[in-house]
Symmetry: C2
Subunit: 137 residues, 2 copies
């Protein structure tokens, strides 16, 4: 998977590959959190994608939003393109709940906390199951 | 402008209306920051927009991203759908610079600071000028 920056590989786990994006779970047990990484080289901004890929990105954001909302019974979704630290284009989708640790503030106001091994397994299995059930045609 | 929540009206200023979104400057002098508000009723998530509006939203995000990047000579753009406090769907586009006050951290880790009257006028004029110059057909 040469198109994925090594920065992502150390603190996230592969969930599924869609047409445009690779979807990975962020290792932060505070929030159910995935990133979508378009499998294109040297792209750091949405406007650098061609029109077809921009449209695919929107479709995949919508698809994954629905799965995140349902899987984690989210009250709200935070969908963010930041990239201040890792420039390769990636979109965060975070399932927010009114009882989560920073609600209603941003997920960025608190340091991450890794999953336990068991917790990590559980969330990965749950997500993969829901991705298979709602497979994108 | 009945379709725009009153929450936005008190701390942001109208810049331009596009086909789908109303674009407003956020009154925070720490960062050049606009929000895009789709002029649709009772929508709080991107996936609630119909397919045509999703596509329009992507087009307008791309259009405004380019203008924000150019107008403020941004090093990077943060593009975020949060909505934890104000549920009406809105997308933040923030021009980030390596010298800004929270770089490379999120804009959410610091409290806002309003523009001076002169500063506000200046940034509104600058933005409007660039929107007119790059008018979306």
């Amino acid at each position: 998977m040469k198109k994925i920056s090594k920065h992502f590989l150390k603190d996230s786990y592969h969930i599924v590959d869609l047409k445009l994006c690779s979807v990975r779970l962020i290792d932060n047990s505070r929030f159910p959190w995935v990133i979508l990484i378009p499998k294109r080289k040297k792209i750091s901004d949405i406007f650098q994608l061609n029109k077809k890929d921009q449209s695919l990105l929107m479709d995949e954001i919508v698809h994954i939003s629905k799965i995140m909302k349902k899987t984690f019974r989210a009250f709200n979704l935070n969908i963010e393109k930041i990239g201040n630290v890792v420039p390769q284009l990636h979109i965060h989708i975070v399932a927010r709940r009114k009882k989560d640790i920073t609600w209603p503030l941003s997920v960025w106001v608190i340091k991450k906390k890794s999953y336990s091994i068991v917790g990590l397994d559980k969330v990965i299995i749950k997500l993969k199951k829901n991705f298979i059930k709602n497979r994108k045609k």
